[in-house]
């Protein structure tokens, strides 16, 4: 992003180099003596990095449940021993030394070299392009600043234009004779008010009718139940039998 | 004629109407 591009910033705003992530880490390297061989220094750095990590971890773990400081430190101690053995082994078998040696393979891998050369070329090209874009951006920024300064100084003068000359379109006649729909709708306001009243009345009547219908239904149901009860009292227990017996 | 009418009335009262009543009652039960 532009804000991150130090080259695009002005002198006063230009950001300095990023600070190291942890200051303690650089101290780790400095505490190792430069008189030691390179491989030994690397081995020491590995060990001291482990020690440093443990040191940073301990305060966080102290607050966790069921944490035992003694067992943690015992584990750390045993792991340090293991790591020491491991680094010694790496040193003795020459693995650490290989990290500092330049490749003995003098015979060049043509493909690799070509690719590397190509990459370097692209990098140069993109750097030049980037520089050109930056210059273009700065140019437009200056122009934009200039325009905004000018616009704030300029006054806006209003003047009315002749409609006819302004429109000058083929549809101007049609547009000019367009009816005023807003007015037409406003004129219908009274009608709408009346309609609203009528609708309200109708709604009220419908509600009344519904209420009457419900009442009538309930009344009829009651009467039906009453009549049913009455007729039930007079029923014979076995009308079929009586009917069959009747000569 | 009167006796005939009496007989018819008697039949209605003792048979026809009760039968119709039983039928109606049976329908009601059903």
């Amino acid at each position: 992003r532009q804000s991150w591009r130090r080259a695009s910033m002005k002198e006063t705003n230009r950001r300095k180099s990023l600070p190291p992530f942890h200051q303690g880490i650089t101290e780790l390297s400095r505490s190792i003596s430069v008189n030691l061989a390179e491989s030994k220094r690397l081995g020491s750095l590995l060990l001291s990095s482990f020690q440093f990590s443990v040191q940073k971890l301990e305060p966080f773990l102290k607050d966790t449940k069921d944490f035992s400081l003694e067992s943690f430190r015992a584990k750390v101690s045993s792991l340090s021993e293991e790591l020491k053995h491991f680094t010694d082994r790496l040193e003795s078998d020459g693995t650490l030394q290989k990290c500092f040696e330049s490749p003995k393979e003098k015979t060049s891998d043509l493909c690799l070299e070509t690719s590397v050369a190509e990459m370097k070329e692209y990098i140069t090209k993109f750097s030049l392009e980037r520089h050109t874009w930056e210059q273009l951006l700065m140019h437009y920024q200056k122009e934009a600043e200039e325009i905004s300064r000018q616009s704030s100084e300029t006054k806006i003068t209003e003047f009315e234009m002749e409609r006819m000359t302004y429109l000058g379109s083929s549809q101007s006649e049609l547009l000019n004779t367009k009816p005023d729909y807003q007015k037409m709708i406003q004129n219908q306001d009274k009608v709408f008010d009346c309609m609203e009243l009528v609708m309200d009345e109708l709604q009220g009547s419908m509600k009344q009718l519904h209420a009457f219908m419900d009442e009538s239904t309930q009344c009829l149901q009651k009467v039906s139940v009453q009549l049913g009860k009455r007729s039930l009292q007079q029923l014979d227990r076995s009308p079929a039998r009586k009917l069959l017996k009747l000569q | 004629e009167l006796r005939g009418q009496e007989r018819a009335l008697d039949e209605d009262t003792t048979v026809t109407i009760p039968a119709a009543v039983y039928v109606a009652q049976l329908y009601r039960r059903v």
Binding site: R237, S238, A240, R241, L243, L244, K245, L246, Q247 | L2, Q5, E6, A8, L9, D12, T13, T16, I17, A19, A20, V21, V23, A24, L26, Y27, R28, R29, V30
Partner: protein
């Protein structure tokens, strides 16, 4: 003497005529009263029968069921609206009281498989409603198959 006898006879006859006339009058009055009573009773019965017939028609129409008393002291139950394609087609069976005064079903048209089972149920429960409902259901199932 003969004349006196004749006069006496005529007097008797006249009295007899009066009595007979009175009797005839009484009989006429009695006849009129009876006729009136019978007429009123007939009218009342007619009204009652009319109402009963109306209710029977209503039930017949609503239930799709006609109940008839037929020859042989049997009740015939005739169902309609069984077959949706031919709603007027009648489906029926008959019911009578046997010697043991129990319900006995017979003459089903068409033949109903479970009629005997329904007969047993109605003998136990006397529930005619369920009995006829089951018969109708069976008829409709037959038709749908």
């Amino acid at each position: 003497d003969n004349l006196l006898k004749l006069i006496a006879e005529v007097k008797d006859k006249k009295q007899e005529v009066e009595v007979l006339t009175a009797n005839i009058q009484d009989l006429k009055e009695e006849y009129a009263k009876k006729k009136e009573t019978i007429s009123a009773a007939n009218k009342a019965n007619e009204e009652k029968l009319k109402r009963l017939q109306k209710s029977a028609d209503l039930y017949k129409d609503r239930l799709g069921l006609e109940i008839r008393k037929i020859y042989g002291d049997k009740l015939q139950f005739i169902f309609t609206n069984i077959d949706p394609k031919h709603p007027e087609t009648p489906y029926m069976f008959s019911l009578r009281l046997n010697e043991a005064r129990d319900y006995e079903v017979s003459d089903s048209a068409p033949y109903l498989e479970h009629l005997a089972e329904f007969q047993e149920n109605v003998r136990k429960t006397n529930n005619f409603s369920a009995f006829l409902a089951n018969v109708r259901k069976t008829f409709t199932t037959m038709v749908s198959k």
